[in-house]
Symmetry: C2
Subunit: 416 residues, 2 copies
Amino acid sequence: MSDLLNRLGQQSKLAAQQLCLLETAKKNDCLLQMALDLENNLSEILANNQLDLIQAQKNKLSDTMLDRLRLTAERISEMAESIRQVAALPDPIGVVEKMWRTEDQLMIGQQRVPLGVIGIIFEARPNVTTDAASLCFKSGNTVILRGGKEAFHSNQVLVQLMQQTLQKQQLNPAMIQFVTDTSHETAQELMQLNDYLDVLIPRGGAGLIQRVKNNATVPVIETGTGNNHIYVDAAASLDMALNIVVNAKVQRPSVCNAVETLVIHKEIASDFLPRLEKALLPHQVALRGDIEALTYLDQANLATETDWATEFLDYILAIKVVSSLDEAIEHINQYNTKHSETIVTDSYSSGQKFLNEIDAAVVYINASTRFTDGFKFGFGAEIGISTQKLHARGPMGLEHLTATKYIIYGNGQIRE
Amino acid sequence: MSDLLNRLGQQSKLAAQQLCLLETAKKNDCLLQMALDLENNLSEILANNQLDLIQAQKNKLSDTMLDRLRLTAERISEMAESIRQVAALPDPIGVVEKMWRTEDQLMIGQQRVPLGVIGIIFEARPNVTTDAASLCFKSGNTVILRGGKEAFHSNQVLVQLMQQTLQKQQLNPAMIQFVTDTSHETAQELMQLNDYLDVLIPRGGAGLIQRVKNNATVPVIETGTGNNHIYVDAAASLDMALNIVVNAKVQRPSVCNAVETLVIHKEIASDFLPRLEKALLPHQVALRGDIEALTYLDQANLATETDWATEFLDYILAIKVVSSLDEAIEHINQYNTKHSETIVTDSYSSGQKFLNEIDAAVVYINASTRFTDGFKFGFGAEIGISTQKLHARGPMGLEHLTATKYIIYGNGQIRE
């Protein structure tokens, strides 16, 4: 382990002892001040962002990447606004989820406490810095942020500003830490910082998630990849199905809750697929169908095995025709990444069967997959969408950044 | 990955699809039949256990180990009784923990579902086979059991009998699997069976837990080691403190919720320690005190740095004298394994401070640490006691062997 990571880990763990006891009002004051300090240092943030953008252009990064990287006055104001929203959320820490009296007359309460030290590995979007830091701070956790090298200067200035706010508030600036070395080695070290990290949350594409899965020895919460399906049942309202599929595909195709494959019952494929092709035409969605789907489509290519397993994050839709609900469920459970799955149907029994048998964080009847989102669930800002089963599954808000401890009030009980 | 582990993993994952949909009554019938089939095959179980005992004697295993390994008619009947108790527990699967309507008029429910496939690595106690298998089965999870080589024949016959019961009930016997190769390699492979395992739970001593922590790439729930403390505050009732310390040390010293270090305020050390030494005398507890403690004790040795960090699991008690509650909290948070910690005090503010500032799964005021136990918490049988923060912390019952999924009822909602 490098000196850098060891030092960051030690400092974070120490700072966590102060942060876990900090009262809610003080945390909120501090968050509001952080938001203000971002807005008051616009030009410094933009200048640092400019350094990243110049380097990115030299390195010929794609327009999409440049767009993710670019900060503007408006985007910084949105980042500040997100921090204010986190300040406005209820504090999960200290909440006693349940309390009961046992046969031995012990009063046992299950109380929410911070996890401790959270590591976040992310890629090129600088707003993750302030989003993740504010969520960790509000939930009483210190954070070690390790962003991508493309956004180095932007991330660094954002963390420095937040640390200055902490200092002004007489708090340990190590509550929010930044890994200043963006080499692969430090990412690897963060994945194995078992002495200090309570959990590591990777935020980014499938490649990052896979690297973390393969290399981490600390506890990890997997977030993100969504190879999502909509199954249009024989008993579906075709108008509703059309609305939902178009929305889930084109409203924002680059996000993890967009749909990637349409699975459709053969009885309605001849009616539905031509209407869908027409509806998607203005959005220039490339269609990749199985052989049967192609018979109903004018401009589609044959889907490959790889297409069924791919999260396109693009204007591409794979289409699979099935003979039964069972076949649809089997296809989905085989290829999905356990994120978000929808059935469109007016059959009560088909809907219930789909809810029961699909293995995913979120399973819908008659709604767009695009609702898998902390805000839409009513949780407020989210740190990510967990696609694993342990600890948290689905959109993760403040509550999912906590652990619990049992507090027990006795009056001298001993065990017989 | 060996063919053996791959095959077990594949079969378990397939069987999990059937088991997760199995109705409660069928699961309970099957558990009751398993209990009966154990009792009806007493001689076969005892004969296999005899093979293990003969080998253990050849290998000169300690009396403690032999005792852990030994099955008797009475112990088998206790194992059957434990299975019946699991059958009698409420089924956690299908429970909707909460359900709400969102601003978009979506009805979102959070429903308990099985984790999927659970791996259990354990050591020489054959009863773990039936305890773990019945808890996993009731919570809808298939299980891959990998026990120690010392108990190979005992574990194997127990699994074979349970598999026969499954077959008689027209269920896939792969719902309960047994790793027939007890080499170190298969343990290592189970720790990295990422394609099939949803979680791995090690049950055993500190060495096993550490090996799993270092080598596992699958999600792990750490269980077990308890370097637990009792802090006797200046404001404690000394009678109550004496009762609690003696109980927590000698009622069953070999278990993870026994106390290992007494931390005591200096104001009462001269009164309390001689009384404690006298009370522990009949139990032949070896005392290891710091320099100040030794001045009040007749028969104690000087404690070393190692003693503060050791889970003795034996008739040994370390004793540390402190000048303040803060010093006590600091010592405990430094050396504890985040399991169970008690303060004995009649001071309201000291009690509250201890509850707030000690980092452990279970923190007590005025009760023996020995209550950290699934039955005593009211959870029924437990699979272990988690000392990690993610997913489950403290005694783990059936509910902690589940994940959740969000089920969403819509009526055509799309995202604007």
